[in-house]
């Protein structure tokens, strides 16, 4: 049912894990909404769907532009987030609230779980004959949304991971040993793969990269590490928190039991996986200096490491969703980042069906993973580099050796 110039209030919310640029999308949407007279009040819901259910709303139309710009540059969901998946009863309640506040434009910034929530709300609205435009605005550091070349939040998280590995590789060169770093990414290895961007010299780490897209074998892991160690006398490893065995069971899930309301096992916020892998290398590879770090939440919320392209695209995604909603062409949808063909990096934001983004996640394509399943390819580097942008310059001594006297 296409309705032009649907007049009413707008409500926007943020769901799922925060990112460094998620407020760019929020502010992009709010500033664009201010241009459209048919959008009356601009409401924000605090903590996603939960805020709607509890009628915990705020007036974003009254925020100053200066403050909105400051918020846009601030990491982590300014409206608060939630990991709640609405039940059918929740949906009934959601409509009572949306009707009561005359919400005719609903925007939900989030990942595939949030897209699913938007989809459920949209379907319920249609069944109830309630005219409302429902749009999902793409976001996730995991970069695992279908239809998207990449997602807002990924570029900045990838930049953090790359800079962390640049430093950690230097640390490991200085005090050699085996260093294992566990990176976020439940089902998709993009963020872990971004560690490869840290490489500048031929022997730079990460020397091994393990992704959830390939079955993880503890035996092969030990063999791989021993081979790198034999060659370089050190080894830096990037491991996805989501690595799973042949049966598809996450290695980390063997050490934790906590699940969220979407049924996702908690993989982050614990150092268990890294410690287990380090123990294995100490025992099986007989290497004494083995350390593990789990980058954890720093990856998605660190202040001060932002990809310029990521910030720009996140802003654009927010504004585009409002344009799609007010354009008269679509009642619902999700924003999708598409890369333009050609040598110079450029993107457009297109509208895609909510169901295309909901539930299912995207994985690293085969051409991004090497044959041995322990590294990325140059195709991945070419893909990721412009999304992340320039990295700090680092140097090495020439090390002009002195002949022994």
């Amino acid at each position: 049912m296409l309705v032009e110039k649907l007049v009413g209030n707008m409500l926007i919310a943020q769901g799922g894990g925060p990112t460094v640029v998620i407020n760019q999308s929020l502010v992009g949407a709010v500033l664009e909404a201010k241009k459209h007279k048919e959008m009356k009040k601009i409401f924000g819901s605090l903590h996603g769907i939960k805020g709607i259910l509890e009628e915990n709303l705020c007036d974003l139309g009254k925020e100053t532009k200066a403050n909105l710009e400051l918020v846009a540059g601030t990491p982590s969901s300014a409206l608060g987030s939630v990991r709640k998946k609405p039940t059918p009863e929740d949906c009934a309640k959601v409509f009572q609230v949306l009707k009561k506040y005359n919400i005719r434009y609903f925007f939900y910034i989030g990942g595939n779980d949030s897209a699913e929530t938007t989809h459920i709300i949209n379907e319920a609205a249609q069944q109830a004959g309630y005219q409302m435009k429902c749009f999902h605005i793409c976001k996730t550091i995991d970069n695992d949304l279908r239809e998207n070349d990449h997602t807002p939040g990924f570029g900045s998280a990838a930049k953090f991971v790359a800079q962390a590995f640049m430093g950690d590789n230097l640390d490991n060169r200085s005090l050699p040993g085996v260093k294992i770093n566990v990176i976020m990414g439940r089902h998709a290895g993009f963020l872990t793969a971004a560690a490869a961007l840290a490489r500048q010299f031929h022997d730079d780490g990460p020397h091994l990269i393990y992704l959830p897209e390939r079955p993880f074998s503890m035996d092969k892991f030990v063999v791989d590490v021993k081979a790198v160690y034999a060659k370089y006398k050190r080894c830096v490893v990037a491991v996805s928190e989501g690595i799973s065995d042949e049966a598809g069971i996450a290695i980390a899930a063997k050490f934790t039991k906590e699940v969220d309301s979407h049924g996702n096992v908690q993989l982050s916020g614990s150092g268990a996986l890294g410690d287990v892998l380090a123990k294995e290398i100490k025992e099986k590879a007989e290497i004494s200096r083995v350390r593990a770090d789990t980058f954890g939440y720093l990856q998605r919320s660190f202040v001060g490491v932002v990809s310029a392209a990521d910030a720009k695209e996140a802003r654009l995604a927010g504004a585009s969703a409002v344009k799609f909603a007010t354009g008269g062409q679509f009642d619902n949808g999700s924003t999708a980042i598409k890369r333009k063909p050609g040598k110079k990096y450029a993107v457009t934001i297109e509208r895609t069906e909510l169901k295309n983004v909901a539930k299912e996640t995207r994985h690293m394509p085969d051409e991004f993973i090497n044959k041995s399943g322990n590294d990325v390819t140059s195709a991945f580097i070419a893909y990721a580099k412009p999304i992340v942008g320039d990295l700090p310059k680092i140097g090495r001594l020439k090390v002009i050796k002195i002949a022994k006297a």
Copy 2:
């Protein structure tokens, strides 16, 4: 024995844990040495004392200025580091090498362990009647060197910790729960305390800070977290890896057994402490969403987060050591950063006795710790702020609440 215009070669090495600005000190020393004709060759030892023992030396005098400047801005010991403490046999061997290469100026960049090594080498040189100037150049992210107002490396690590907590506090506001972050610092809590610089609004985390300077009680920890959680419905905690019980036994040491050659228990490179603390809160405080991150090696080697004051002072410390060695006034010593009195932040580098810096570490003074032993004071903030420098600006929505319809 004061010797003016001692003619011979110079050797410089780096020891202990790397920092983001340790190469500023290296380059500061090398560029200053180039100005002194009595210093003939400028050698670097690879991996500290180990490189001397193995005669694994390089010619730093042949490095270009442009490359040295690039290296100066690169984190982690460019010459490689070592955690080896020389035995009496090692010292005998060290002199054979130093004599063979006509080393008359020896510089060791490091913490208190490296100062001790420099002290041992200096004493052995004096006993052997070998004329050599021995200087230690201060460095440590732990900020625990005596005689120093603060140490090169601390400012940048503290900036990383502050920016990490700024982001993590925002993350925790967005998805509330208890978040525990474990920070480096074996015996001194300065780096953990730097988390407090992240606070901007009255309810910002870290809400609790636990330092090695105060005995850690698991029971009090649970009570503290419950109190903060009751007030804010969330809680961000900064915990030093070095927290110890009443008997002085490190809590983390109960979960690891690895020690280095200085007898230090391995506290970093494992997520065990954070996981134990998180488990305690889950069980005893009955709070379901509890997460722990261990910042690990990122704190000392992350590329791209540098305190400008720290970089400048590290460079100055390196140059000053060479000036002290060539000035004719001292045969040995360590560089110490002193803060000038007055409102405007400024420092000088002074020469202090090696034995004043060796072995013993400095701790957080009482006036920097609150009475309850779970936070820092405003005196600490005033102390640390200029060392760390400006932090990125962040914002919050005003959140103008909508009255329920």
